[in-house]
Amino acid sequence: METEIKPTKSVYTQTLTAGLWRENPTFRLLLGMCPTLAVTAALKPALTMSVAVIFVLVCSNLVISFIRRQLKPHLRILMFTLTIATFVTIADLFLKAYYPTMSEELGPYVPLIIVNCIIMCRAEACASKNGLVISFLDAISMGAGFTVSLCVLGVIREILSTGAVWEIPVMPKSFVPWTALRMPVGAFITLGLLIALMNLISKRKTATAA
C-alpha cells in the first residue's frame, strides 16, 4: 500500500495550478484527445463538453478518494470505470433532458467521456492515493486546464471557420470562412500548432531561467 502524501498549503496550491500549465491535460499530457478533436468546431459545444468533464471528474475523484482504502488493487480499474460510467450517464441524461440540441450536437462524445483518459488518469494517479480535499482540487485544476484548452481551440476554429464567436459574428463581412477548420483536419492542425506554441513558450522560459 502506498503512503499518502501529507498535504501542506503549498501542495494545495501546486495541485490547484498544475492543470493550467505545468500538467495541462490537453497540451502537456496529451490526454483526452478524442473530445478535444471532435467537439471543438465551435465554442458552445467545447464549453458544454468541458462542464460535463468537470462534473464527472469532480464526482469520480471524490467517490474514488472516499473508497480508496477499500479498493482491491486488481479490481480498481473496474471500480474506476463503474464510478466514471455512472456520472457520465447522469451527465448524458441531464443534457438530453435540459439541453437536447446540444446533446444531439455532441452526439456520442458525451457517453465517450467514460473512456476519457484524463478522468481515468486522475482516478489512478491522484484520487486513489489522496484525501478528499486534494482529489477535489486536482479535479478542479485538471478540469479547468481541459476547459481552457478546449475553449481556446473552439474559439480559434469557430472564428476562422464561421467568422463568429458563440454564434455572434465578429469578423468583417469581407471575411472568407475557412470551412476546412470545422472539419477534423482543422482540429488536428489547430491542436498541433497550439502544442508547438506551448512547447516554444516553455523552451524560452527554461532558457531564460538558465
Partner: protein, 205 residues
C-alpha cells in the same frame, strides 16, 4: 464456504457500488425520462409544423412496418395532420437510411392524397459540415416540396428551382444527396401501398 467468504471479501465493494450506482441511475432516469420524451415529441411536432403549417395538430395515426431493400424491417410512425376545422390536410412520418457518415433520419410530409411531397426536414444526421450537411439547407430541401410521389432521380447539374422529379445534387456531396433521394424513394411508395391496403387513403391511386 471459505471460497464464498473469499469471493465476498474481494468483491463486496464492487457489488455494493453496482447496486448503489444502479439505484442512482434509475432515479435519474425516472426523473428525466418524461422530459426527454417531451423533447422528442416537441422536436418532431416542430418539424412537422414547418412542413405542414396549416395543421393545428398532428395525431399519431398508425405504426406501419415496412421492409427496406436490404431486407430489414423498419417501423414508420404515421401522423395525420389535422386543420382548425378538423379536416385531414396531409400526412407526416419519419424515414431513415444511411448517408455518407452515419444514419440520416428525416421527417417527410405529403398531401392528403399522397400524391405530392410537402417537403422534408432533417431529424438527425451527421453528414460532413459544409458539404453533406447542406441537405438541411433551404435550396436543397425546397426541391422536394411539391414534387410528385414516385421515383425521384438525382442529377449532377440542372436548375434546382424547378420542381419536378429531378433533384439536383449538392456539389461535393453526391452520396449525401443520393441518400436523401433513396430514403424518400424507398419509403414513400411502399408506405402509400400499405396505406391504400389499410384503407387510409380514400382518393385515387
Amino acid at each position: 464456504m471459505s471460497k464464498i467468504k473469499y469471493f465476498i471479501k474481494q468483491s463486496w465493494l464492487l457489488i455494493a457500488s453496482s447496486l448503489f450506482f444502479g439505484l442512482i441511475l434509475a432515479v435519474a432516469n425516472a426523473a428525466w425520462a418524461p422530459i426527454m420524451e417531451a423533447n422528442k415529441i416537441k422536436k418532431l411536432d416542430g418539424l412537422m409544423a414547418v412542413l405542414l403549417p396549416e395543421a393545428k395538430k398532428f395525431q399519431l395515426d398508425e405504426q406501419i412496418r415496412l421492409e427496406s431493400p436490404s431486407g430489414q424491417t423498419r417501423t414508420i410512425d404515421l401522423y395525420k395532420a389535422i386543420s382548425d376545422t378538423g379536416q385531414n390536410i396531409g400526412w407526416a412520418f419519419n424515414a431513415s437510411g444511411f448517408g455518407f457518415a452515419d444514419k440520416i433520419e428525416l421527417v417527410v410530409a405529403v398531401d392528403t392524397d399522397f400524391k405530392k411531397i410537402a417537403g422534408y426536414e432533417v431529424l438527425s444526421s451527421n453528414e460532413t459540415p459544409g458539404f453533406g450537411d447542406q441537405i438541411k439547407l433551404p435550396w436543397y430541401l425546397s426541391q422536394f416540396a411539391g414534387a410528385s410521389v414516385g421515383q425521384l432521380q438525382l442529377e449532377r447539374t440542372g436548375n434546382h428551382d424547378k420542381i419536378d422529379d429531378q433533384i439536383i445534387a449538392i456539389t461535393g456531396a453526391t452520396i449525401s444527396s443520393q441518400a436523401v433521394v433513396n430514403i424518400i424513394n424507398n419509403t414513400l411508395l411502399p408506405l402509400k401501398t400499405q396505406m391504400q391496403q389499410k384503407g387510409l387513403l380514400t382518393g385515387g391511386n
